[in-house]
C-alpha cells in the first residue's frame, strides 16, 4: 500500500506496479479546462500491462479526465501521459489514431449511435477498421452480444433499450476489436444487480483471457473490490491513496475509510463550497 500525498497513511505493504512493465504511466500530470480551475494537479499513476486497475474518487475529482487524457481527447497542461512509453501529447495524428485503434473506451452514458441498430453499433468499428467479410462480422457481433446477454436485442434501436441494456451494448462495442487497452467510465452505473455482477465478472475475464490492460473509473466500491488488482483514489485532482484490494480493505486511512464506507463526514466534503447556511437564509 502506498501513500500518495502523506507519509502517515497507514496502509499494509503491497507490491506497487513496476515502471518496467508499465503499459500506462502518468507522470506529474496537471490539467485544467481553464487556467483558473485545475482538474488534475501533479497526478502520478502507473498501470502495468495486463492488470485491471480502478480509479476512484468523488464526482468531479478528475477521474474521467484521466481517461480522456489517455485517449488523447485532452492534452495535459504539464507532465507526461505515457502509453507504452510514448507521450500521447507528442503523438502525430497518425500515431494517435494508431493508438486509438488499440484501445476501447466505454463512455459514461454509452454513446451508442442512435441512427444505427444494436447490431450495426457493434459492427461499426469492425466495418471501419477491418476488411472482414460480412458473414464473419455477423458472427463476431453475435458473439459479442451473446457475451453481454443481448444477442436477442441485435435488431433493436438504442432508443428501445433500457439504460442498463444500452450500457451492456456499449460494452460489447468497446471490446469489438479486442483492444489491448480498455478504459471503462462508470461501467456499473444503471445496471441491475444481476447485470452488474455479470458485467463485473466479464470485465475481469476479458482482461485475463485477452491479456488486456484495463482502467476502471467507478464509484462502485463493492463490485470493484471483487475484480480489480489495484486501486487509486483521487481527490481534488491528486492521488491521495493507492493500494491493492486487501490493503484497501484493511486501510485505516480516513479518506479511504470514508469512501469505502460511504460516510458523510470525513476528509471529503459533501457540500460544494458555499456561504454558511444561516447566512444564506438570512
Amino acid at each position: 500500500m502506498h501513500s500518495a500525498s502523506s507519509n502517515e497513511r497507514n496502509f499494509a505493504s503491497t507490491p506497487q506496479p513496476t515502471d518496467a512493465s508499465a503499459h500506462i504511466e502518468l507522470r506529474e500530470v496537471s490539467f485544467g479546462y481553464t487556467p483558473e480551475r485545475q482538474i488534475l494537479s501533479g497526478v502520478n499513476l502507473t498501470v502495468p500491462r495486463g492488470k485491471l486497475v480502478a480509479v476512484m474518487g468523488g464526482s468531479g475529482c478528475g477521474k474521467t479526465t484521466i481517461l480522456r487524457l489517455l485517449c488523447g481527447q485532452h492534452v495535459a497542461s504539464s507532465g507526461q501521459v505515457l502509453v507504452e512509453g510514448k507521450d500521447v501529447a507528442h503523438m502525430s495524428r497518425d500515431e494517435l489514431f494508431a493508438h486509438r485503434r488499440k484501445l476501447g473506451m466505454l463512455f459514461q452514458f454509452g454513446a451508442l449511435f442512435t441512427d444505427m441498430s444494436v447490431f450495426e453499433n457493434i459492427a461499426f468499428p469492425m466495418r471501419e477498421h477491418t476488411d472482414l467479410p460480412e458473414a464473419v462480422i455477423r458472427d463476431l457481433v453475435l458473439l459479442k452480444l451473446n457475451a453481454v446477454g443481448l444477442r436477442g436485442a441485435a435488431q433493436l434501436r438504442p432508443s428501445e433499450l433500457s439504460g442498463g441494456m444500452a450500457r451492456r451494448v456499449a460494452l460489447a462495442r468497446t471490446i469489438a476489436l479486442d483492444p489491448s487497452l480498455v478504459l471503462y467510465d462508470e461501467p456499473f452505473a444503471g445496471l441491475d444487480p444481476i447485470s452488474l455482477s455479470v458485467v463485473g465478472q466479464m470485465i475481469r475475464k476479458l482482461n485475463d483471457a485477452l491479456g488486456m490492460t484495463s482502467i476502471l473509473v467507478t464509484h462502485d466500491i463493492a463490485e470493484s473490490l471483487k475484480i480489480v488488482d489495484y486501486i487509486y483514489f483521487i481527490s481534488e485532482g491528486r492521488v491521495v491513496a493507492e493500494g491493492d484490494v486487501e490493503s484497501i480493505k484493511a486501510s485505516t486511512d480516513p479518506f479511504v475509510k470514508q469512501f469505502v464506507n460511504g460516510e458523510p463526514d470525513g476528509p471529503v466534503r459533501f457540500h460544494y463550497p458555499a456561504v454558511a447556511l444561516e447566512e444564506a437564509f438570512r
Binding site: 481527447q73 489514431f97 486509438r100 485503434r101 442512435t114 468499428p125 477498421h129
Partner: protein, 268 residues
C-alpha cells in the same frame, strides 16, 4: 465616473462581440477546409452520401414542391394585375419564369432548405456531440468530420441546387395553371414568349450559380453550428436557431452580392 464606466463597458462589449464573431468566422473557415480534406471517404462510399441526400433532399421535397407551386400561382395572379394594365398579359410566362429562375427559385428554396434540412443537420450533429457519439467515434480512431460532417455537408451541396430547380419548375407550372387554365391567357403565348425571353446562360445558369453558392453557405452553417454547439439541450436549441437565422441572412446577403455581379441592365 459611473457614466464613463458604462460607456467603456459598452465599447468593451462591442469589441468582444466583434472579436468573437471574427473568431467564429475563422473557425468556420478552418472547419470548411477540414471538411474538404476529409471528403475523400464520402465519395468513396456513396451509400453514406446517398443516405444523407435522402434525409436532406428527398425529405425536403414536399415542402419545396408545395411552396414552389403556390408561389408560382401567386406570382401569376399578382403579375396579371400589373400586366393587364399595359396590355401585356402574354408576357406572364416570361414574368413568372424569370422571377423564379433568376431569383425566387434559389432564394426561397435556400430559405426552405435551411429551415427544413439545415436545422435538422444542426440538431442531429449537435445531439451526437451532446450524447458523446462524436467523441466515441473519435476514440475509435474514426474521424467524425469525415464520417458524420462531410457526408451531410456534400448532401446539402448536391441537394439544394436540385431542389431549387424543382422549385422553379413547379412554380412555372403553378403560373401556367393560374395564367392559362384559370385566367385564360393563351397557352402558346405563355410558353412561346418564355422560350424566347429566358436565356440559358444569363438567366438559368445564373440561377444555378446562386443556388450552388447558397448550398455551400447553408450546408457549412448547418454542420458548423451543429459541431460547435454547446453540448446541452439549450446549446443545441440555440445552435439550431442560429442555423436558420444565419442561413437566411447569408442567403439574402449573398443574393444581393451575386445579383450585383450578374446585373447586366437588361442586356442579354
Amino acid at each position: 465616473m459611473n457614466f464613463l464606466a458604462k460607456i467603456a463597458d459598452w465599447f468593451r462589449s462591442i469589441g468582444t462581440a466583434t472579436r468573437n464573431g471574427i473568431t467564429r468566422l475563422g473557425f468556420a473557415t478552418r472547419f470548411f477546409w477540414a471538411i474538404v480534406r476529409a471528403s475523400g471517404p464520402t465519395f468513396m462510399r456513396p451509400r453514406l452520401l446517398i443516405r444523407e441526400i435522402y434525409h436532406a433532399g428527398v425529405l425536403s421535397l414536399v415542402i419545396v414542391l408545395m411552396s414552389g407551386l403556390f408561389i408560382g400561382m401567386v406570382l401569376a395572379l399578382q403579375g396579371y394585375e400589373t400586366l393587364v394594365r399595359f396590355g401585356a398579359t402574354e408576357a406572364m410566362g416570361v414574368l413568372v419564369a424569370l422571377s423564379l429562375v433568376r431569383e425566387l427559385g434559389p432564394v426561397v428554396a435556400g430559405l426552405l432548405f435551411a429551415s427544413r434540412a439545415g436545422s435538422a443537420m444542426t440538431a442531429e450533429i449537435g445531439l451526437m456531440k451532446t450524447t458523446e457519439q462524436l467523441a466515441a467515434m473519435d476514440v475509435m480512431a474514426i474521424d467524425p468530420v469525415a464520417r458524420v460532417v462531410a457526408p451531410r455537408f456534400w448532401a446539402g451541396v448536391i441537394s439544394l441546387p436540385l431542389l431549387a430547380a424543382i422549385f422553379s419548375m413547379l412554380g412555372i407550372y403553378g403560373g401556367f395553371l393560374v395564367g392559362v387554365k384559370l385566367i385564360g391567357i393563351d397557352g402558346g403565348a405563355f410558353w412561346g414568349q418564355m422560350q424566347v425571353a429566358v436565356d440559358w446562360r444569363n438567366d438559368v445558369m445564373n440561377g444555378v450559380i446562386k443556388s450552388v453558392v447558397f448550398a455551400f453557405a447553408v450546408s457549412l452553417i448547418a454542420v458548423f453550428e451543429g459541431y460547435d454547439a454547446t453540448p446541452t439541450a439549450e446549446g443545441v436549441s440555440a445552435a439550431t436557431t442560429r442555423t436558420v437565422v444565419t442561413s437566411a441572412l447569408a442567403i439574402l446577403a449573398l443574393d444581393f452580392v451575386l445579383t450585383v455581379f450578374m446585373f447586366r441592365g437588361g442586356v442579354n
